[in-house]
């Protein structure tokens, strides 16, 4: 999957969404390196240079979108099209039909429904333009604000995995997976 096949930027009521560029990264880093943001994120970057190198090396940069409110970058989105689990003989039919989404938002902008607004657009991109049939989102079960976003998006909690995810400070915590099928989204 490539973001190239989509017409950018996308506008919602209050936000502009587009693929991240190198010049966005200082602003994204400023959000991601805040302890309260990093609490539930996959990493807590401390060095800008190392973070940028990791982003490029892991492919995460290619899956990163930014959310702009006016002129300010208020957070980033994650969008990764992946393969569904399939028996070997039908693996091709299961390729590229599922997407994982994720997000982070600057604390100053939290509590206004901005992530839900942005992800509503992300779901539309997935189901209408990328031909995805299922979208999933994962989180620590204790990350209440993110779970609320998933629920507002109409996603269903399909799994709560006991002590399956290791948190840097809190130890082994439950992880949840939420999902939404295209036909559920359409109705």
């Amino acid at each position: 999957m490539s973001f190239d096949q989509i017409a950018w930027p996308r506008r919602t009521d209050r936000l502009t969404i587009r693929p991240a560029t190198a010049s966005d990264l200082p602003a994204v880093f400023a959000v991601r390196s805040l302890p309260e943001v990093a609490e539930w994120m996959p990493d807590r970057p401390t060095s800008y240079d190392e973070w940028v190198l990791r982003l490029g090396g892991s492919g995460a940069f290619d899956r990163m979108l930014v959310m702009e409110r006016g002129d300010a970058i208020v957070g980033d989105l994650y969008l990764h099209v992946e393969n569904a689990w399939a028996q070997l003989e039908v693996r091709e039919a299961g390729a590229g039909v599922q997407a994982e989404i994720g997000w982070s938002l600057a604390p100053a902008y939290q509590g206004q429904g901005l992530v839900t607004e942005a992800c509503g657009e992300l779901l539309r991109i997935c189901f209408v333009e990328l031909g995805v049939r299922r979208v999933v989102a994962n989180a620590f079960a204790d990350n209440t604000p993110s779970l609320r976003v998933m629920e507002r998006l109409g996603m269903t909690c399909e799994a709560r995995n006991r002590a399956d995810s290791l948190h840097r400070d809190r130890g082994w915590l439950d992880g949840v997976t939420y999902a939404l099928l295209r036909e559920e989204w359409q109705t």
Partner: protein
């Protein structure tokens, strides 16, 4: 949450083989096992719920004879014969980046395949229970998971019998070669839960 896909290919080195349960012996495979293991897969109905349905012995060896697959496959013996195989992949579960080392190789994913000629005797349950013991006591993981199509009632029953909890049911998340998109279930058990059952 998704784990680190890289598997620990040396996990079986930490086990002294064969491992015996009341009626079964479990050991790593050798190339001499391939034809018998393929014969089991080729029996009617066996591959219905399995990941792959090899079309020939050559196909089987090509898929399952690789070092990576051999390092996650075990042979099941009963009544003096090879009666099935087990899957056991030691992996790194999802963790935040700063503590990845602490999470490394602490998760095992298991599965089983039994010759239909030997079903109905509790061998799958006995084998899966023995495999749990291997995972927790010898390989020393802290969590074991198993996945199945939700319609695979026999396997789900085995999971529950050995003390695994159904943690997730993915709605039409798994593609079956004949039946299309079906629900998948995942089951899990933690070391402390397993210990509690075996006090």
């Amino acid at each position: 949450m998704g784990g680190d896909a890289a598997q620990d290919l040396t996990a079986f080195d930490r086990v002294s083989w064969p491992v015996r349960s009341e009626r079964l012996a479990i050991r790593p495979p050798t190339p001499e096992d391939f034809s018998r293991l393929y014969e089991i897969r080729a029996a009617p109905g066996v591959t219905q719920w399995l990941t792959g349905a090899p079309a020939s012995l050559e196909d089987y060896v090509e898929r399952y004879g690789t070092p990576e697959r051999l390092a996650t496959t075990l042979v099941l013996e009963a009544e003096g014969a090879v009666v099935g195989d087990l899957f056991c992949a030691v992996e790194s579960p999802w963790s935040q980046a700063e503590v990845r080392d602490r999470a490394r190789n602490t998760l095992a994913a298991i599965g089983w395949c039994l010759d239909p000629a030997y079903t109905g005797r509790g061998y799958a349950t006995e084998a899966a229970a023995a495999l749990l013991r291997i995972c927790f006591e010898d390989i020393a993981v802290r969590r074991v998971v198993a996945g199945a199509f939700a319609d695979n009632a026999a396997s789900v029953r085995v999971m529950e019998k050995i003390g695994m909890r159904i943690e997730g049911r993915g709605v039409r998340d798994s593609l079956h070669r004949d039946l299309g998109w079906l629900d998948g279930v995942t089951a899990a058990i933690l070391l402390e839960e397993w210990r509690e059952r075996h006090r």
